[in-house]
Symmetry: C2
Subunit: 403 residues, 2 copies
């Protein structure tokens, strides 16, 4: 996959740059509780597809204080269905921030010491511009008219946000799963801007099996007549059933067989005997149905299509002549790569491939395989071995940086 | 799960037994190319749900010749979406029989020596009575009015077929996946009728993760408006999209990550570069879409619901006080249990649990874990180690039986 912008496309971008029309005021901010950085038509986002996005906006959250040297910034990159609410109560779900286990005063990512930023990725639906946003050219939601987004596009947008915030260097770039892909892309695209990088439960490319699971989810959404070829917002419908099925299937891949066995086994739901019907007899069925239902309340179906596609397209080696090590050649970033033994979505072999590539270019890298039966989602859960590895790596990096 | 028929239900069955009304002539035979055994209202099928099925029919195929002693009969039990066309061209798909690799003249299951039978399971859609059949009480297709089917119900129906064919004992009962569940159920329910048993790529119970995958598939079907609460045959619609999505998701679980990587990797479909769209850019996407499309041409959506449910309900230990060994106590059957290293749907641990249970009751058992990267579907594919294990076991059993 060659997703490098051609010189023509780049110069095309520059030709199109016009003074901001401030029409981005019309874009929806689905999360009014987050600060939003607005980028006008004079600051377009150049995308791997060769298209540009302008105007656009990035919703983000911060915690802690930027020091005078501006040297203590941490960028957290969220996963597929994550968002910027990493360390405070979510405004929609009212649940705790998704990484409060790792981030906060005295935590491994210590908000008493670091200035922590997390922005909603481009293409998502939590306040940053995505397919549910209004297309200023038509006055209607983009839908499938939104340009395809890549992991690199997400990272470029984040870099523009950091520029806006006056942050040149990141002390640390960290994230799990799709967030980990962004971390790898950051370290490869802007090595001089990343002091330390911590990709967790991720891979330098999406495997055939992972693409396959994503494709099933997309087909489930597109099979829902309420999806209406992506124009459901205009039609006033919602592909809730299709999106729910997609989420149910994906959710299985985030867990592990041992965890499912421990948590649910073959236990029946509120019943002493099976009903000999298609009711949710088993607890696992009831749990999955709930996961599907609660997801559709908080996520946009088209955004799900776009973000799964971004992960599928990710192949850092392909962008460097098929040699992953080349993605990191000359890097001075220090890495800590983390995997979990029961993660079958991004198995340890994927992390080892990253480590081997870093070794090949003599980049400083630590690797920790955390023993856990919680599957891929372990990076979001209470995993003391993850916390201690993160604390050790981050504290050492802080000392090296004089923080 | 207690699925034992209560005495009341059993006597109720007997009360309901009436002379055959021959109204089964009205039932559809979706496969007119197979012989069909008809069972009238005087021969009802007693089901685990407590309900009875009458009249009903079983479509089957045979190969080879029954010897004078009637001692050389082999019953092949097919998998979830399999059928009775095990060793001859399929009348619908025109593909070779699904087990021609293993069955035929000179093959491990040698049709020059054995009389081989394979019947379409009750609840399926290839000629045996299932939810797509006409309910004689209403004159309309059963749909969800068809009683829930269990693995034990399938085996009971097969036993009635063997009775009809004048076959008391099976020399061998063999099958993979759901077919392996039937083999285990045969050996447990009718131990005196099974001389040798070969359960392949299966388990004595369906795991939480497997139930979860099945539930996603069912929800995909039920989410399709064309499913029409199961009445699509009456409505003249077909839930092709929902069934296609279900099949796509299930198909992933039949393969393995290494096999998908070897077969497809991240190769693009007929294109030099990604299209930056939701087209099937990757070969794996195109392959999966084809799997979904071709499946809906040959399979009934409600039958898929019923058969997945039958697998979910299967838990042989639960039927014996939670102790799997009790399912086989006193058995004189000789077993050969086969698993495949890359099968993550029914991993080797599931087969080991069967072997341990058989060991606990001192049943003769051989166990072979076949090294293969082909995943669950390996039992259907060209696996020389499977063939040699099967040949060795079957030849030895034949000698022991004096065949």
């Amino acid at each position: 996959m060659d997703t490098t912008l051609t010189p023509d496309a780049e110069s095309g971008l520059r030709d199109e740059a016009k003074p901001s029309r401030r029409d981005y005021d019309a874009l929806p901010a689905s999360d009014p509780k987050s600060p939003v950085a607005l980028f006008g038509t004079d600051e377009p986002l150049a995308m791997d597809s060769g298209l540009t996005l302008a105007p656009f906006q990035i919703a983000y959250q911060t915690a802690g204080t930027l020091n005078a040297e501006r040297s203590n910034a941490v960028l957290i990159c969220h996963a597929l269905t994550g968002d910027q609410h990493f360390a405070h109560t979510h405004p929609v779900t009212k649940k705790p921030g998704w990484w409060e286990t790792l981030v906060g005063p005295g935590k491994p990512i210590d908000t008493d010491r670091y200035f922590v930023i997390c922005s909603n990725v481009i293409g998502s639906c939590m306040g940053s511009t995505g397919p549910a946003s209004l297309d200023p050219a038509t006055g209607r939601p983009y839908g499938l008219g939104f340009p395809l987004v890549t992991i690199r596009d997400m990272v470029r947008a984040q870099a523009m946000l950091l520029d806006r915030l006056g942050i040149r260097d990141l002390f640390l770039c960290i994230g799990g799963s799709m967030g980990g892909m962004q971390v790898l892309q950051w370290a490869s695209l802007f090595p001089e801007r990343v002091f330390a990088a911590m990709p967790i439960a991720t891979g330098a490319r999406h495997s055939a099996q992972n693409i396959a699971f994503h494709e099933v989810g997309r087909q489930a959404i597109m099979a829902d007549p309420a999806w209406a070829d992506g124009r459901y917002l205009e039609e006033g419908t919602r592909p809730a059933k299709g999106l729910g099925v997609a989420r149910m299937g994906a959710h299985i891949t985030y867990l592990s067989e041992p965890a499912l066995h421990r948590k649910f086994g073959r236990r029946l739901q509120n019943r002493a005997a099976p009903t000999f019907s298609f009711n949710a007899d088993f607890q696992i069925e009831s749990y999955l149905r709930y996961q599907g239902l609660s997801f559709v309340e908080r996520f946009d179906a088209n955004a799900y299509l776009y973000l799964t596609r971004a992960m599928d397209y990710f192949d850092l080696a392909e962008d460097h002549g098929g040699v992953l090590a080349e993605a990191f050649r000359g890097s001075k970033t220090r890495f800590c790569v983390i995997s979990f033994t029961s993660d079958w979505l991004f198995p340890t072999a994927d992390s080892r491939a990253i480590v081997h590539a870093l070794n090949a270019v003599a980049a400083p890298v630590a690797f920790v395989e955390v023993e856990s039966d919680k599957g891929h989602d372990a990076f979001l859960l209470d995993e003391p071995a993850l916390f201690s590895a993160a604390r050790g790596f981050i504290d050492a990096a802080a000392r090296a940086r004089g923080l």
